[in-house]
Every structure is written in C-alpha cells, then in structure tokens.
C-alpha cells in the first residue's frame, strides 16, 4: 500500500511540481490549496506525511502545523515546511509548532525526494 | 503497516501474549496496557513476536521496560521470536542487539541476547 502524502500550497505550480515528483516516487498525493482546506481534508483522510507552504491565505502553515498536531491521526507523522531563504526565523517558529523539518525554496525534485525519504524512512 | 493484534492465551505453563502485525507509536499506549495486564496474571509471561511484521522504537522500549518490571516482581519474561527476521532486523537496526545483558540486568536474562542475529 502506497504511503499518502499531503501537499498544502496556495501556489498551483508548486503543488503541481510536488505532486508530480511524489507520484513519480511511488507515493499517493492529496492536494490542499491552503491551511483551512488542508485541515478539513486531514480530518477525514489519513496521511503518512504532510508537506506545507508557510505563507497561505485563510490559515497559514504555522496554524496548519499546530492544527494537524492536535489531531490524533497526525500527532506523530512527519511534517515538512517549505520556506524561503528570507524566513529563517520561520523555521524556528515552525519547529516550535511541531514541524519535523524544512525544505528551502527553490528546491529541485531530487531534494524534495531526499527529504521525504529522510523523514519517512 | 498491518493493524496490530494483541492476543492473550493462558495455559498451565503461564500466560502467552501474542503480538502480531505492526507495533507503532500509535498503539504504544494500548501495547503498554496489554503488557501490564499480562504481567499481573501469571509468574511467567511468554511474549510471542513470531508474527510481528514491524516494530518501532517505542515498541522496543516497551519490551525492555516490561522485562525490567517482570524482574522487579520476581517474574519471568521470555520473548519468543520463532526466527522472525523482521523483528531481529529491527532490533539490530536500532542497536538493541546485545551480547550480554542490559544495565539493570546482572542475571543475563536480557531479552535481546541471542546468537549473532
């Protein structure tokens, strides 16, 4: 059974790239367009990992991470945030909210896969 | 990972707790309760992990903790793996394999001691 990864990002092109890369790597992908959408989907779908952008409308990445960790099904799953180089303080904030790790934008598909493999085993 | 299944069998020799499927942190609380309950029952507890298909760090910690508790209560705990390669690989990968006992275990009854697995 393939593992399921959720990608939450308000940028359609990033979502597309992440989904494409993960599917090629043999994972199933659930897409969410912002934090609110992601939390709603997480309540009904069990995922093995969450990859989230930080800057999103409605509910931002930090809010999503906190919300996800409060769900029993997401308490221990790896959560990776997408950050930009100018957001170093965000990394700390994200870690404090319960993120497992981060990927710095811009990233290549190989870098994404390396991090997924790292945290998912 | 497969759903975890905990079965308890009591026979004249003692109690057997058979753990099958995959033990992960999500089931850690249940697993601990089951181990505690099984320890209450008989002087000898047999843990059958031969049909385990996966075990994470929390699972291995609980096995160690159970062994410690058993000794404190003067009971015996034995792990039967039936040559389960998944279980042995997991123990090795986590660095749990031992050639002698653990710190609290001077009697060399450590559950991880067995031939080079």
């Amino acid at each position: 059974m393939a593992k399921v990864i959720m990608t939450a990002d308000d940028s359609a092109s990033v979502r597309q790239m992440v989904t494409f890369t993960l599917k090629q790597g043999g994972y199933d992908v659930v897409e969410a367009v912002d934090g609110k959408d992601a939390l709603q989907k997480l309540a009904s779908t069990k995922v093995d990992m969450l990859i989230t952008d930080l800057n999103m409308p409605n509910l931002d990445g930090i809010g999503l991470i906190k919300g996800a960790r409060a769900l029993a099904s997401c308490k221990f799953i790896p959560i990776v945030m997408l950050t930009t180089e100018s957001q170093d303080s965000k990394k700390q904030e994200g870690k404090a909210a319960g993120a497992t790790g981060w990927i710095v934008k811009p990233f290549k598909p190989e870098q994404l896969m390396a991090v997924v493999k790292k945290v998912l085993g | 990972m497969d759903e975890v299944k905990l079965e308890r069998l009591t026979d004249p020799q003692g109690t057997t707790l058979k753990v099958s499927g995959g033990v992960t942190i999500c089931e850690a609380r249940d697993f601990r309760e089951a181990l505690l309950a099984a320890l209450e029952e008989a002087p000898e507890l047999r843990l059958d992990v031969s049909e385990l298909t996966g075990i994470d760090l929390t699972g291995m910690q609980l096995l160690c903790a159970a062994h410690q508790s058993a000794r404190r209560r003067g009971k015996e705990l034995r792990v039967y793996d039936g040559g389960n390669a998944t279980f042995r690989e997991a123990a090795k990968g986590a660095g749990f394999q031992r050639h002698s006992g653990c710190p609290q275990d001077r009697a060399c009854s450590c559950i991880w001691v067995r031939g080079e697995s």
């Binding site: 359609a12 990033v14 999103m56 319960g98 811009p106 998912l120 085993g121 | 760090l57 910690q61 903790a65």
Partner: protein
C-alpha cells in the same frame, strides 16, 4: 517535465498579477486594510518563491525587492502611499513584461527594472546597493578520499516523537553512509509502570566509518541538531599509511567518551581483572557503555583488517633483513663492476669493454631498483604524530590542529626509523613552546586553535621535511641573553639571525631538560641536531616573532649510497660526502709557514680554519710539496681538511665498520674501491666538533 511546470507557473503568475492589480487599486482607496496588504504580500511572495523554483531567476530577484517593501508595510514599518501604489503597479507591469519575454527570447527592459527598484528602496529608506538576488545553496563539498571512523553519540530529546521525527530513520541513514555499528543505550529506561509509552528514553553510540566526510554525517541530523545532544568525534583515519594493528584500549575509549574519570579508571586498573567486567561490577559504568566501547574496538579492527586484505592483493610482505641482504649484495656487485670496468679499460679489449659497459648499465639499474624497494612513504610516521599532537595538546590545555602534506614522499626505511625520535622532539617543542594557550592566542588576534604543519617534499637527492607552527616564534633577545649566560657567545658577538637561531642547537644551550613523555628521557635540541647529522642531514630554523617558527630538516634519500669525493693521504684512501664539499684549494709549504701554526688558510680574502688530516690520523711519511684543502660547509661554517691528493668523485656504497670499529672517531663507514682496496668515509661534522672541543 520542466516545461510543464514552467507553463503552470506562468499561468499562475498571470492570474496572481491580475488579482494583484485589483488589490492594489483597492488598496489606494483603503490604505489601512490589513487583509489587502496581506494579499499583495502573498502574491509577491508566491511569484518570488515559485518563480525561483522553475528557473525564473530574474523575476524572482526583482519580485524579492517588492516583497521586502510589502513585508515592511505588513509589519507597520511603512505606510501605504500613492507613490508606493504607483511603484508597485509599475513593478506588476514589469513582472508581466518579464513573463511575456521569458520564453520568447525577447529582452526585458533592465533599466525599467532598476528604476523601480531604486524607487522602492528610497521609499523603504535604504537606498543604493546592488539588487539582491536570492541566496544560492552551497554546493556540497566533494567527498574526501580516505575513510574516517567517527564516534557519534546521539541523544534525542524525550519528546522527539511529537515533532514527527523517527530516530531509527537517522540511524538507517548513517548505515547508508558506510560501515556502521549501532549500540542503543537503554540505561535510562524506566519500568513498564513508570514509562511514558510515547517518550524516547534511549540514546545511541554509533561507530561509523565513511569516506563522505563529517558534513555528510552532520547533515543527517540537520532537522534535530538544535534539539538533541549530538557529539561527533574522529577516532581513526584510514588512509593508506594506516598500519596500526592495535586500537585503543577499552579504558582509553571510555575516558575519551567521558563515561569514566581518570581516578575511577586508575582505581579499577589497580586490580587485576578484565577492565570492562570490573568497572561494571563496581557500578562505575553500566553495561551499555562498555558494550559501546567494545563495539568501537571491534569495528575499527574490522575496518582495518578489511583494508589490509584489500592492500595485500597488490603487494607482498618481506622481512626487512632480506631486503638488507639484497642491498648489501648489490653494493658488492657495484664494487666488482667498478673493478671490471677498470680492468677492461686496462686490457684495451673491445669485446671486454663492451661487456663491461653492459654490466655497468645493468648494475646501475639493479642498484636503483634495490634501493627503491626499501623506500617507504613517510605518511605512516606522520600518522603517528597526529596522535601525539592530539594527546599532548589535550594534556597542555592547548587547541592544536596538525595538518600534513606530502605523505607519499618516499624515504629509505632505515632513515624513516631514525627520523622518528628527532621529529617527535621537534613537534613536541612546537607544541610545548611554540603554540600558545588559546586565551593568549585570541588576545594576540590569532585563532584559538593553533596549527602545526608537517610536510615532506623531494628536493634533488634529498627530502625536505618542514615542521611549521603558527605559534609565538623565537625570542631573539632571550636566545642571545641565554647564549651569553651559557658562555656560548661573547657579549660583543654580532650574530646574524641565522647564527642566533643556530645557538639553539649548541650543546649545553637547551635548559628545557624536561622528561619527554614520548622518549622518556630529557634531551636538548643538540641531540636532535646530532641525530639529523648522523643521517647526513642538516637542520635550519626560521622564525618570526608572534607569527611562528619553521624548522627545515634536509635528509638524503638513502643511507646506502652516497656521492663522495675520493681523497688520498699517503697510501690511505678516504671518502668525503660530496654534499658537504664546497671547493678544493691548494696548500703550499709557504702558506703553512705564513700561518704560524694557526691552521688558517686565506681563501679569497677570508680566513678558513683547516684540519691537517695527516696529523689527525697519525699517518706516517712526509706530506707532498703541495697539499690540497678540501673546504666543507658544516652548518654554515667553512672548515678545510688537508689531504695529499684529490682523486675525484665516486659513487660509494656504504659498508658499516663492524662492531669493533663502530665508535672510531671521525669515521662513519667504509667502502670498497674498484681495485678491491678499502676507503674510509669521513664523518665531517664529528671531526669539526672534536677539533672545536679540543681547542676550547
């Protein structure tokens, strides 16, 4: 695939720009609307982030400027003005133009971009400067060649699981890097009644051998390094000079890890039982820590064995005596060959001469390859010093790094063996007296960690070994004062820097008669110098106060053969190492008479002292009318040796004198000449020293 994503980005960006335009227009109406400000910021942020992902670097860096300004607006550091809105609208149009141009190959108006950036920066209050481009990731360092064994202690926080981290994945990653031994430390596990099943109570000792470098190891822990306790130490480097068979003792490993104190160890060692067992039964250590240390021993031994098996396939081990025998035989062969050539020349027999020439060529090749077999890279010696530096610096509370260069430089095996003690002494000196304490170094504006650099390089028929430190350097005044105190120089002596530094090597100068923990006996630098000279080498010092000291040791490649000058006194033949010979001049009876028995010759206006060897060796018979002075240079001083005749240069295979003549003063060995007679090899430094001592 990339095109697909680029297309998706362009569509997205056009959409965002359309939205941005209306947001900006609304913002002009309601400049305090936080929601609108957030929307503008996010649009810029997305265009920047996604643009950089799909190769729109110009768009990304341009948008970055606009984003920065709106970040300030968002944080209340800047207010929305019509000028800001105008500039942002212009920026929006510019991004659109860049998007249009992106795949068509058309150029964008760079001046327009620059003008907008300047305008925005003025608004934000930080004008000028280059437009900032997003930082690039550093490329990973190329993997190093030689495998290194690391000792890693990884202590995850109790709540590691709630951040979704699985420590077992990190262990698995380490296993992928190379040969890995993992020991879990379970000493902190509570009983089943007390345990929090979702907490982490275990930590790990890992021994990893990898050629990927320390950064690759650290990268594994990148997400957890701030939260966990991580210690990475190098315990062994496995380069091709790694010949050690035995690894550290158990107690030593535990001491290094900080699992046991020196006092505890001494107490345990005073009893005669196996260390590990005893320490555990005494309750000083728990079993897990001993297991980890034992695992480290086993791991390193296995890695070394594997390497040796790999090395063995391309080489064979031969006892050194067999090689020595071979070299001796080749030496005799060279001698016989010389006789053959001489005889052939006398007979004037064309056939014989042809054969003799052929034998000469083959003998030369044979000699070279026989000597070559005894050559070893100096790297194994360097490796031993790394350990020495590590231990000594820890002992003295200094931070010292040793770097090496030229490990592959080859030297005769016997030379390498004899070099060990002098080099140890010199390195010890650098550490003891050269490198300052970390506080002192920092106060002097130097990095706290000092460096001792050891290098070896071929130079002609010798090898130059340099020991350079970046320590305090030599104190010329102190040396001078001490030289006067010890009566080595007079108050009025005017010495060049070179001569001054040379005083360090004078017998009786060194007061640092500390017992070295390596050699176990107190030695001064004069002993070092004599040891180097016994190898027919020389030693030089340069030093700059406050910057460091550099010691250069020059050693001939081999001890078996030397180029020498053949001289005669009466019927006896002697050899003088050519490397020390400067020139030859004549000595007439009148010259002797003029010097009034002071044994001084005037050579181009300079006075050169000489030693009449005929007297020195009590050789009977009168000297010829015109004698020869062979002028040698020993440590910068010129000394002449008076002989009857100079016969010419000669390649000499050195024979030792045998035990009975071993300590004969002034003679370092012998050789057999082409006619079968024996010539003695003069030990020039020793002769000079002996004469100096007698005069004092």
């Amino acid at each position: 695939m990339t095109d697909l994503h680029r297309q998706a980005f362009k569509e997205e960006a056009y959409e965002l720009l359309t939205e941005l335009e209306s947001s900006l227009l609304e913002l002009e109406e309601r400049p305090d609307d936080q929601d609108l400000i957030g929307r503008v910021f996010r649009a810029m942020h997305t265009i920047k982030g996604s643009g950089s992902m799909f190769g729109f670097d110009d768009i990304a860096s341009f948008t970055h400027e606009v984003e920065t300004v709106f970040d300030m607006v968002r944080n209340g550091k800047l207010s929305v003005t019509s000028r800001l809105v105008n500039l942002t609208l212009a920026a929006r149009d510019q991004i659109r133009a860049m998007l249009d141009a992106a795949d068509s190959g058309a150029a964008t108006d760079l001046q327009a971009s620059a003008a907008i950036i300047v305008g925005l920066r003025e608004l934000a209050g930080f004008g000028g400067g280059e437009a900032g481009a997003p930082e690039r990731h550093e490329e990973a360092a190329p993997p190093q060649k030689d495998p290194v064994t690391y000792r890693i202690r990884f202590v995850p926080p109790r709540d590691v699981f709630v951040t979704g981290t699985n420590p077992l994945n990190l262990l698995a990653e380490m296993m992928e890097l190379g040969t890995c031994t993992v020991v879990a430390q379970t000493g902190g596990l509570p009983s089943l009644e007390e345990i929090d099943p979702e907490g982490c109570y275990v930590y790990w000792d890992v021994i990893l051998t990898t050629d990927q470098g320390e950064n690759a190891v650290r990268d594994i822990f990148i997400f957890v390094e701030d939260d966990c306790d991580l210690k990475i130490q190098v315990v062994a480097e496995h380069n091709r000079y790694d010949e050690q068979q035995d690894y550290k003792k158990l107690g030593e490993i535990l001491l290094e890890r900080g699992d046991i104190t020196t006092d505890e160890m001494t107490a345990v060692l005073s009893r005669q039982r196996r260390f590990g067992e005893l320490a555990v039964s005494e309750g000083i250590l728990d079993e897990g820590k001993v297991q980890a240390a034992l695992a480290e021993q086993k791991h390193v031994k296995e890695v070394r064995q594997e390497k040796q098996v790999a090395d063995a396939s391309s080489s064979i081990r031969v006892p050194a005596e067999r090689l020595d025998l071979l070299v001796n035989l080749v030496g005799e062969m060279v001698t016989v060959q010389a006789r053959l050539s001489q005889t052939a020349a006398h007979r004037d027999d064309a056939d014989l001469i042809a054969i003799a020439e052929e034998v000469e060529r083959l003998t030369a090749e044979l000699r070279d390859s026989a000597l070559n077999i005894r050559m070893l890279p100096i790297g194994s010696t360097f490796n031993k010093f790394k350990r020495l530096v590590r231990d000594l610096s820890a002992e003295l509370g200094k931070q010292i790094e040793m770097t090496t260069e030229g490990e592959e430089t080859e030297l005769d095996k016997t030379v390498i063996e004899k070099l060990n003690d002098p080099l140890v002494h010199l390195i010890r000196n650098s550490i003891d007296h050269g490198i300052e304490l970390p506080e002192v170094r920092e106060a002097a504006g130097k990095p706290a960690r000092g460096t001792v650099h050891l290098s070896a390089v071929h130079s002609g028929d010798s090898v130059l070994i340099t020991i350079a430190d970046d320590g305090a350097g030599l104190d010329k005044e102190a040396i001078r004062t001490k030289g006067i105190e010890r009566g080595i120089i007079s108050h009025s002596a005017e010495l060049s820097e070179k001569e001054l530094f040379g005083l360090i090597f004078a017998p009786g100068f060194s007061t640092a008669k500390t017992v070295s923990s390596i050699s176990g006996r107190g030695v001064g630098m004069d002993v070092v110098k004599r040891a180097i000279e016994a190898l027919r080498g020389s030693i030089d010092i340069t030093s700059v106060r406050g910057q460091g000291t550099r010691i250069m040791v020059r050693i001939p490649l081999t001890l078996a053969i030397i180029e020498s000058l053949l001289v005669k006194i009466g019927k006896d033949a002697f050899m003088m190492p050519l490397a020390m010979v400067d020139e030859c001049v004549e000595l007439t009876r009148e010259d002797v008479a003029r010097s009034h028995g002071r044994n001084l010759a005037r050579v181009r206006g300079h006075l050169v002292p000489y030693i009449p060897l005929r007297e020195r060796f009590a050789i009977a018979g009168p000297p010829p009318e015109i004698e020869q002075i062979v002028i040698t240079q020993v440590n910068g001083t010129r000394v002449g040796f008076v002989v009857d005749h100079v016969l010419g240069e000669h390649q000499t295979v050195i024979k030792s004198l045998g035990r009975a003549y071993k300590d004969t003063e002034g003679i370092s060995g012998a050789t057999i000449l082409g006619d079968g007679s024996v010539a003695l090899i003069l030990d020039i430094p020793q002769l000079v020293q002996a004469v100096e001592t007698e005069q004092n």
